[in-house]
């Protein structure tokens, strides 16, 4: 029952898949749900067709590069009886390899899963001989790649399994075309082409998925990298931690300016104690940010300047005398308070609040 539910969920989410290459049975999509909780858990499914820019034009280019011609398509279609006859044996042979190694065996934890993926494998195999390699075929192959990537199957196992796959097919072909070696080798050549075509799609999916993850992490880091803190009424603080490259400097400037206007801050304290290296570039970014803040009608205070930073900045000849600078953050806060007309004073210890 659980499987059925998983299938429905995924089906609802991605309508076009229903029109994809037909031999795939219902349980195809359950591959995920049995091992990782499936698309229900993953919710977000990137459109690899879009990411990899796989349109009709690209499909044709790929087919051309793998030298897949109409002749190959016809030959593959004509091999359908061969495929029907041997699919079971070839699948068994493939899983013999996969189950023979602990690392790959781990992906098939129980009998039910194993039976399911074997059925999928059969339909995948038959798909190779459909003779129709249109855009839906490509979409389907991308889903195969995405499914493998999602369950964490490493490419080394994926490619290794293909190697065994080809060997098994070769063996059966020699049997099938007894004596007619040239026919067998032609058939194998065509099969190899379409298999490499498939593999390229799967590997592209792996890479795209990886890049996607990296991009998402970068976005998360960017968000975390500019935490503007309200120190006091109309005083903001931005502690800058880590390397400041151009992209980050732009982002810092944008955030600083937006926050200054939004919160109508009189003073923006930039604390660079956490910046490992302050070179001319970093100094330039800070100067520009300061200038922009001044244009808005506010001020910046640069704090966290260590002895070595002070030395470097002067030796580099960076002109930062125009800005307020302090060595310690606490001094910066005191200066900021004095700019907005406030002051930190000690409370009389003995009096216990008598002055109020």
């Amino acid at each position: 029952m659980q499987d059925g539910r998983g299938t429905n969920q995924i089906r609802n989410g991605s309508e076009p898949v229903r029109q994809c290459y037909t031999p795939l049975p219902e349980f195809y999509y359950d591959y995920n749900s049995s091992t990782t909780g499936g698309a229900v858990m993953h919710g977000y499914q990137p459109d690899y067709m879009e990411i990899l820019k796989l349109d009709e034009d690209e499909r044709k280019k790929r087919l051309a590069f793998y030298e897949l011609t109409d002749e190959d398509f016809k030959r593959l279609a004509s091999l359908r009886p061969f495929a029907d006859r041997w699919t079971h044996e070839i699948t068994e042979g493939l899983y013999e390899l996969l189950m023979g190694q602990p690392e790959s065996r781990a992906f098939f934890p129980d009998e039910a899963t194993l039976a399911r993926v074997k059925r999928m494998q059969n339909s995948y195999f038959l798909g190779l001989f459909s003779g129709n390699y249109d855009i839906n075929y490509v979409r389907d192959r991308l889903r195969v790649g995405a499914a493998h990537e999602r369950i964490g199957m490493p490419p080394k196992l994926y490619l290794g399994a293909y190697r065994r796959y080809l060997a098994l097919i070769h063996m059966r072909l020699l049997d099938h075309f007894k004596g007619n070696e040239s026919e067998a080798s032609n058939a194998l050549s065509s099969i190899r082409k379409i298999i490499f075509f498939d593999m390229a799609l799967a590997i592209d999916t792996y890479i795209a998925a990886y890049l996607e993850t990296v991009t998402r992490h970068q976005a998360a880091i960017r968000e975390l990298s500019t935490p503007v803190i309200k120190v006091h009424d109309r005083i903001l603080l931005l502690p800058i931690v880590g390397t400041v490259d151009t992209a980050r400097a732009h982002q810092i400037m944008e955030t600083v300016l937006l926050q200054v206007v939004e919160q109508q801050a009189k003073v923006m304290i930039l604390d660079i104690a956490g910046v490992p290296v302050v070179d001319t570039k970093v100094a330039d970014h800070i100067l520009k940010t300061t200038a922009a803040v001044q244009l808005l009608g506010s001020q910046t205070i640069l704090t966290g300047i260590s002895a070595s930073v002070a030395r470097t900045v002067v030796q580099l000849g960076v002109e930062i005398t125009r800005m307020h600078t302090r060595s310690k953050l606490s001094e910066g806060i005191e200066l900021a308070l004095s700019i907005v007309g406030k002051k930190i004073t000690s409370k009389s210890v003995r009096g216990g609040g008598e002055e109020f």
Partner: protein, 125 residues
Amino acid sequence: MAGGPIPILKIGPTLLATIQIDLHDTVVDAFQNDVLEEIERTSAKGLIIDISALETVDSYVARTLANTGKMAKLMGTNTVIVGMRPAVAATLVRMGYFMEGIDTALSLEEGLELQKIRTTVPDTE
């Protein structure tokens, strides 16, 4: 009051110009003329230019506004530009244009306050 498209109002010793239309080159030139004539006519002590409605400011406009400020200074009038938008500030700075020597303020209210400070103690400088 001058005849240009940007009204220049007098509030006490201060002139206030709120720019609410796109500044083309000709408009900003006319504005500069109007402002200087108003200063001459009214002997205003301060000038506030509110650009909070401007989404873009090109380098020519920025330079003209800054120059207007400098010219006003020569006539004894202090200029404060108020309400610059973050995107405008970022663009100007990236173009290397810092509008040095011009006072700025976050809002009109603060501009008026700053103007008060500047115009009440002019002799200390």
